[in-house]
């Protein structure tokens, strides 16, 4: 993974910069903040969940207030020190991977609930709070926060906003951007701005909309106002097995075409079913592909929906149709899906892709992946959110075999190109980060990327904030190098 050469002048001033950081936090009244510069400790921040690539940062700052974040950014701006924001470090795309000259600003100490307003159906939290603990904070009142990325136990809301995270239930409830009402954003020069408002709306341009999903390149979100929803009366999954992946894909399209929008439609193919059975023993049927379809409502409402889904599924000659009758059965149906990634990790190293395709292209793309699997000699297991076309092919490789990772990455790039060719995109919910940066040109031409980079020019004119991400290095180089050094 190529990263820009670190600024040796910054590295040379390390001790002075650290001293100034400590002084700036103290002046900002952020007594609970912590500055880490011991190399033994900064190593904990050398990577995120894309752990194949690592680089310890110059220093790490863990502020506890918005004023603390502002003071640190103002100082780094003044010192021309690159900054890498970090939520919980669960990015699969290297979104919080540092460079040797960068200060990492971590949100770990900012996890408070600031305001809960049930009548107006929102919660305001500090951005380091974990996704799941947002829902937990309103659970007893009968509410929940809808976006549910599979890392929700660990991942931070700030990271969710940076990557516009999705989850299994976004077919009905949307992704982060559809559930975000406002943020407090600290920009690189240290200025603090409130974006959004009631219904997420503010006068003028939708700045909140473009900040969400900007991968920490426009500012650091320190507080977020999130829409919360009343918890549905109940939910129940059904498991449907098929004798081919294509038939399962056709069944997904038929369900949606019939006007039923379940909260989730998940897909697993045989390699994935086999691995999760060995790992979790969820009792899945022996079949080529299966769908887990979940619907919500009161018991009679669930029955009504499942009757329709069953009628549709039967036209595709399913080899299994298991309707949950109890909490325990529901848990078992979800068990395999939820342990899929862990199960694959038990048997192999794997690389998880995240391309999205139009659901109508599913058979074509599955066939294409099978072909590439043969060409590259690497096995692939497919598990994904079928309702919205967000695929997660897992390419299996052996990290101890020289050349295997490179082969795996090359194959991953081919799969993502295929996703774009059929009308989809490179990443549905993980983000571009460093991982897919060099593939951006597959989806966008120069003018498309130029328009996006103009937005960064406005928020971060010196390109100091997480600058070596998202855009191909050669494309962002004139801005990263020219602007900073001319200033």
């Amino acid at each position: 993974m190529q990263m820009p050469a670190p600024d040796q002048a910054v590295i040379g001033r390390r001790d002075a910069i650290v001293a100034r950081l400590i002084a700036a936090l103290s002046a900002a009244g952020d007594a609970a903040a912590r500055v880490i510069d011991d190399p033994a400790e900064t190593r904990a921040y050398e990577c995120d969940a894309l752990s194949a690539y690592r680089c310890p940062p110059l220093a790490v700052v863990l502020p506890s207030t918005t004023a603390g974040v502002a003071a640190v950014l103002r100082l780094c701006h003044e010192e021309r020190v690159p900054v890498v924001p970090r939520g919980a470090g669960t990015s699969l795309a290297g979104g919080s991977m540092p460079t040797a000259d960068a200060v990492v600003i971590g949100l770990a100490r900012m996890n408070a609930v600031l305001e809960t307003d049930l009548a107006d159906r929102f919660i305001r939290v500090q951005a380091g709070r974990t996704n799941l603990s947002v829902s937990s904070a309103v659970e007893t009142a009968g509410f929940f926060y809808a976006p549910d990325p599979s890392s929700q136990l660990a991942c931070a809301i700030g990271g969710n906003i940076a990557m516009n995270s999705g989850g299994a239930h976004c077919l009905k409830y949307g992704v982060t951007t559809n559930n975000l009402l406002g943020v407090t954003l600290v920009m690189m020069d240290g200025s603090v701005v409130e974006l959004g408002g009631p219904m997420g709306e503010a006068p003028g341009l939708d700045l909140l909309g473009v900040v969400c999903g900007s991968e920490g390149q426009l500012g650091i979100v320190t507080e977020a106002t999130l829409r919360i929803l009343p918890r549905p009366a109940g939910a129940r999954p059904v498991l449907i097995g098929f004798d081919s992946s294509e038939t399962a894909g056709a069944c997904v399209a038929a369900i949606i075409r019939a006007g039923i929008i379940p909260v989730a439609i998940e897909f697993m193919d045989r390699p994935c079913i086999r691995a999760t059975e060995a790992f979790a023993g969820a009792g899945y049927p022996d079949c080529e592909a299966l769908l887990i379809v979940e619907v919500e409502g009161t018991a009679p409402e669930i029955d009504e929906q499942l009757r329709l889904i069953r009628a549709i599924a039967e036209t595709f000659a399913p080899v299994a149709f298991r309707e949950s009758r109890s909490e325990e059965e529901s848990r078992r149906i979800w068990l395999g899906r939820k342990s899929a990634f862990g199960a694959m990790g038990q048997i192999n190293d794997y690389m998880c892709l995240d391309g999205t395709i139009p659901v109508s292209a599913l058979p074509q793309v599955l066939a294409g992946i099978a072909r590439l699997s043969g060409e590259f000699g690497l096995d692939v297991a497919n598990v994904f959110h079928a309702g919205d076309g967000n695929m997660h092919p897992l390419i299996l490789y052996d990290a101890n075999t020289p050349g295997d990772l490179e082969r795996c990455e090359a194959m991953g790039a081919e799969i993502l190109k295929l996703c774009v060719t059929v009308g989809g995109c490179l990443t549905g919910e993980h983000g571009v980060g460093v991982e897919k940066r060099e593939l951006m040109g597959v989806q966008f031409d120069a003018a498309d990327m130029e328009a996006q980079m103009r937005v960064k020019d406005v928020f971060d004119p010196l390109w100091l904030l997480n600058a070596a991400k998202v855009f191909p290095l050669a494309v962002s180089a004139p801005r990263r190098e020219g602007l900073r050094h001319a200033a």
Binding site: A119, D120, E194, D206, G213, I256, P300, R454
Partner: protein
């Protein structure tokens, strides 16, 4: 000027010497807008792709809204964000205004249904962003930035939408006895329960209105549960489903104001205003007519008020200086020669009109 292709539109913008105003149907202009030389976008019309089974529609910006809605209805689908119908309205105008109706409380706004777009910026450059799939985090979300940008950053030429199935059944409940201020807590009670509400508003002479949509059996079950929950607020009666098309009122006498707030703050705002023309989104949206030129004296609240017809643009409270600077800088970047006429510059060119 009436370009027939995107390339022609780009050439017009590239060679323009003065301010231009892109116009769809011209049905959603605010005070001060529409003062530049008009570019009529009705020539950029037609459906590019419609895949009902993928819930995806890609359509050129000048396509009339009513044509889009008829096409979707023929396949049992709709635009879930429920843009209000206006004679001549185009889908591009809907997107540029982020026009969203009552179903926003359930299905989100227009911007939430927009999956991708093509636009021509102020230098005549064609830009694509987003795509046609509903989960896409590849690059910055300029789709959201352009949605509701009212032609200030670029001219939309093509938009991809997520469509939704038409609900097979529908029911409206009315609490006719309630004043607007009394309606807000009733609407809040409805929205805070597990009833999957698809409309929550108030209209003069009709009282509080709540809508349920979905499968037939489900609507019946939720309707009964909701009627029970709302009994403490007053008599609950069957309401007229047709009323939802009246939730975006037209300018009558006086200036039309659109006020956005937290629902719990709506009663305080209502106390400082004449009877509203409508409440929507559970009380988060207040439509009110004020005597021409009047600026309302409102208590401090979270939200903003916009004069949408009347003598010149006005938004309350004044925008934060940093936010204003970000807005201005983005416009400078996307339209450095100020070709896409801003309301402010136009106000100097000629007197504003409604």
């Amino acid at each position: 000027m009436r370009p027939e292709t995107e390339a022609e539109l780009a050439r017009i913008i590239r060679t323009a010497s003065g301010p231009l105003t892109p116009i769809g149907g011209g049905t959603r202009l605010w005070p001060g807008e529409g003062q530049g030389a008009r570019i009529d976008l009705s020539g950029l019309s037609g459906v590019v792709l419609y895949e009902p089974a993928a819930l995806t529609l890609v359509v050129r910006a000048g396509t009339p809204l009513c044509e889009v809605q008829a096409l979707l209805a023929a396949e049992g689908q709709m635009l879930a964000f429920e843009p209000d119908a206006r004679d001549g309205s185009t889908i591009g105008g809907v997107a540029a205004a982020n026009a969203s109706g009552p179903r926003r409380v359930q299905a989100g706004a227009c911007r939430d249904a927009m999956l991708g777009l093509r636009f021509v910026d102020g230098q005549g450059e064609v830009v694509r962003n987003g795509g046609r799939v509903m989960k896409n985090v590849t690059g910055y979300d300029l789709v959201k930035l352009l949605a509701g940008s009212r032609g200030r950053l670029g001219v939309l030429t093509e938009i991809a939408f997520r469509t939704a199935p038409l609900p097979p059944a529908r029911a409206t409940l009315a609490l006719p006895g309630l004043t607007p201020a009394q309606a807000v807590p009733a609407l809040t009670a409805a929205l805070c329960g597990p009833h999957d509400i698809s409309g929550a508003g108030w209209l003069p002479g009709q009282g509080a209105l709540i809508r349920l949509e979905g499968l037939e059996g489900s609507v019946a079950i939720r309707r009964a549960a909701l009627a029970e929950r709302l009994a403490e607020f007053g008599a609950v009666e069957p309401g007229d489903d047709a009323l939802w098309s009246r939730m975006v009122p037209r300018a009558g006498a006086g200036d039309l104001w659109r006020i956005l707030c937290r629902p719990s703050q709506a009663p305080g705002l209502l106390a400082a205003l004449p009877e509203p023309l409508a409440l929507d989104w559970g009380g988060a949206l207040i439509w009110v007519a004020l005597p021409p030129g009047t600026v309302p004296a409102l208590p401090r609240w979270s939200g903003h008020a916009t004069r949408v017809t009347g003598p010149g643009p006005l938004t309350l409270p004044a925008t934060d200086a940093t936010v204003a600077r970000l807005n201005a800088s983005l416009r400078d970047r996307f339209d450095p020669h100020a070709i896409l006429a801003s309301d402010e510059t136009c106000r100097r060119i000629s007197p504003p009109s409604s």
